[in-house]
């Protein structure tokens, strides 16, 4: 009885693991096969990896899209870290009743769906285009500016700041550090893991962001990787090998971030609920 229970447990978990991994396996294997082989259900690695890569790079500028995505995601992550950690620190360390009220109003913004912001933001950036074209419609800046500050991240930093040993700040004040100096010289180095977790979360969601870039970016030279993949996937006679190659390439950065920083990643997700 107990043995049967154990066995069914392993069976169930193996099935779940199989279902979870199979699409990854399929997309990697398909990136090495010709489109015909993919349609015929070939599940073994083929020898067409380089052909697919060549076809891909000659039909779309994937490296440009990767570059755009990298530029946008890295800028978003750096700005998000700075602004959200300053705020999370400010709300917790210089806590006051008025600030707590402002904080809970900020949290309400988490309830606002992006689809509701899309139209007014688009109109707003339409107006900005008239005065500052470098920040207007169809620019990477317009992707970054309205998305990098999130109440979630401020909340995340505030929660983590609750664990921060305040005695360190007193010691720093004794040493004559300014309030901003305390933040950069003491808080920032102490909270490395919090920053790592926050950076991973922000980078991943920025790298994968689809809706806002779809609305605001128009020319192919500016498109980010999700836009490129979406365009490739909406064609009528898809070249499966080529598309899977593109998907594999686009997944490499997030997969690397995940496997290199797995511990921080999980800590970050979980830290946000506590």
């Amino acid at each position: 009885m107990l043995k049967a229970k154990r066995a069914s447990m392993y069976l169930f978990l193996s099935l779940a693991a199989f279902v979870s991994i199979f699409p990854f396996f399929w997309m990697i294997v398909s990136a090495t096969n010709r489109s015909v082989d993919v349609t015929q259900g070939r599940l073994l690695p083929g020898s067409h990896l380089l052909d697919n890569l060549r076809n891909l790079t000659s039909s779309v500028d994937i490296w440009n899209a990767m570059g755009n995505s990298a530029k946008i995601s890295i800028t978003t992550t750096l700005l998000a870290m700075l602004i959200a950690s300053l705020a999370g620190y400010g709300f917790e360390i210089y806590r006051s009743k008025a600030k707590d009220v402002v904080f809970s109003i900020l949290l309400l913004s988490m309830m606002i769906p992006f689809a509701a912001l899309m139209v007014p933001l688009y109109r707003m950036f339409g107006k900005i285009t008239n005065f500052f074209p470098t920040f207007g419609i169809d620019t990477p800046a317009a992707v970054v500016i309205p998305t990098f500050t999130t109440a979630f991240l401020i909340f995340f930093f505030r929660q983590s700041t609750k664990m921060f040993p305040r005695e360190l700040l007193e010691a720093g004040r004794m040493d004559g550090l300014s309030e901003l100096g305390l933040f950069f010289r003491i808080y920032l180095p102490t909270m490395k893991t919090t920053y790592a977790a926050a950076a991973i979360i922000t980078f991943m969601s920025s790298w994968n962001n689809y809706m806002w870039p779809l609305v605001i970016l128009q020319t192919p030279e500016n498109q980010t990787i999700p836009l490129l993949i979406s365009n490739l996937g909406s064609g009528y006679s898809p070249d499966y090998g080529l598309i899977m190659m593109a998907i594999v390439i686009s997944t490499v950065p997030t997969a690397l971030v995940f496997f290199l920083m797995q511990k921080h990643f999980v800590a970050g997700m979980v830290g946000s609920v506590k």
């Binding site: 978990l13 600030k99 689809a115 509701a116 139209v119 997944t251």
Partner: protein, 312 residues
């Protein structure tokens, strides 16, 4: 610094603390606001200001700059708009089936993985979590091809004789919804599982030991210990999943394009279509946006109520 401290008499130290505590209070007022200022301004500018704009827009009609006041006209239109009603219906179908299936699966996996004697725990955990690292667009395209009429899923199901003819996963109104539900469940179950795992690890094992001594069965333990203690996490995951489902966009855009007809359309996709695909009807799109905001507020409120006391 040290020498200056020891050189100062006790009296001067006292007066200094007094002075510094008063000035610190002032500073903590002003400096604190400076720390949070940038974030507050940015959230106000890119969340709350647009929402006010959207509210004004939602009472207007017209295209481009030729907008005119339309009273409650847009809101009345909602109730007779077939596509909108279909989109709301679809969104609720996703919500009612997908969210519970995913949360039960996530909880179930986490309980299995929390077993002390389980081997290959790290492998299973990473494998089940892995879908969460993919971009929504990328996995949607992969699923679109896997579930194509001549795709691998149909081929596999036919090979093991579960079905005799291919299922129209993408082009049949019923199966297209099923495909979307399967896809979202694949992407998010492992993600939610991590929250349950961390919750389970925080439960004191001695509670279970005490229950075992009292003769409680494993199922009884699950329902009377595990579920009540995981309540905050159940609440958290169900609220975030509900908000996520109400905003569903990437998957539907890339797997079915909302079709066949509008059988899989969601509210977010309808807003996008109204604004950027059809004739830029920004006013009505804003009205539809407010309908999601209202639904999110109502559903989150209900979930808080149902879950009861959060400190339980």
């Amino acid at each position: 610094m040290k020498t200056a401290d020891s050189a100062a008499g006790p009296g001067s130290a006292d007066s200094r603390t007094f002075r510094s505590s008063r000035s610190r209070r002032f500073r903590s007022g002003l400096v604190g606001w400076l720390f949070v200022a940038a974030a507050v301004i940015l959230i106000a500018a890119f969340y709350f200001y647009p929402m006010i704009q959207a509210l004004i827009l939602s009472f207007q009609t017209g295209t481009g700059i030729n907008m005119k006041f339309n009273g409650l006209g847009n809101y009345e239109r909602l109730f007779t708009d077939k596509i909108f009603l279909t989109a709301v219906g679809n969104t609720f179908i996703y919500l009612l089936f997908q969210v519970p299936i995913m949360i039960i699966l996530a909880m179930f996996f986490s309980v299995l993985l929390n077993d002390r004697n389980l081997k290959f725990k790290g492998f299973f955990r990473t494998a089940i979590f892995l879908p969460a690292i993919t971009s929504l667009v990328a996995y949607s395209i992969v699923f679109k091809y896997l579930f194509a009429p001549d795709g691998l899923v149909n081929a596999m199901l036919m090979n093991i004789h579960i079905i005799s003819a291919p299922i129209q996963w993408i082009s049949d109104p019923f199966w297209a919804k099923v495909t979307i539900i399967i896809a979202i469940t694949w992407r998010w179950t492992g993600y939610n599982m991590i929250f349950y795992l961390s919750g389970l690890q925080n439960i004191d094992q001695s509670i279970y030991e005490a229950a075992r001594i009292d003769g409680a069965s494993a199922i009884r333990q699950f329902f009377s210990i595990t579920i009540p203690l995981l309540k905050p996490i159940i609440l958290f995951t169900s609220i975030t999943s509900t908000i996520g489902t109400l905003q569903l966009f990437d998957e539907v855009m890339n797997i079915t394009k909302g079709g066949p007809g509008s059988a899989t359309t969601t509210i977010s996709q309808y807003i996008y279509n109204l604004s950027f695909k059809y004739s830029a009807d920004f006013g009505y799109a804003a009205t539809v946006s407010y309908s999601i905001v209202i639904m999110i507020i109502i559903l989150s409120f209900i979930q808080f109520k149902v879950a009861g006391d959060r400190n339980a």
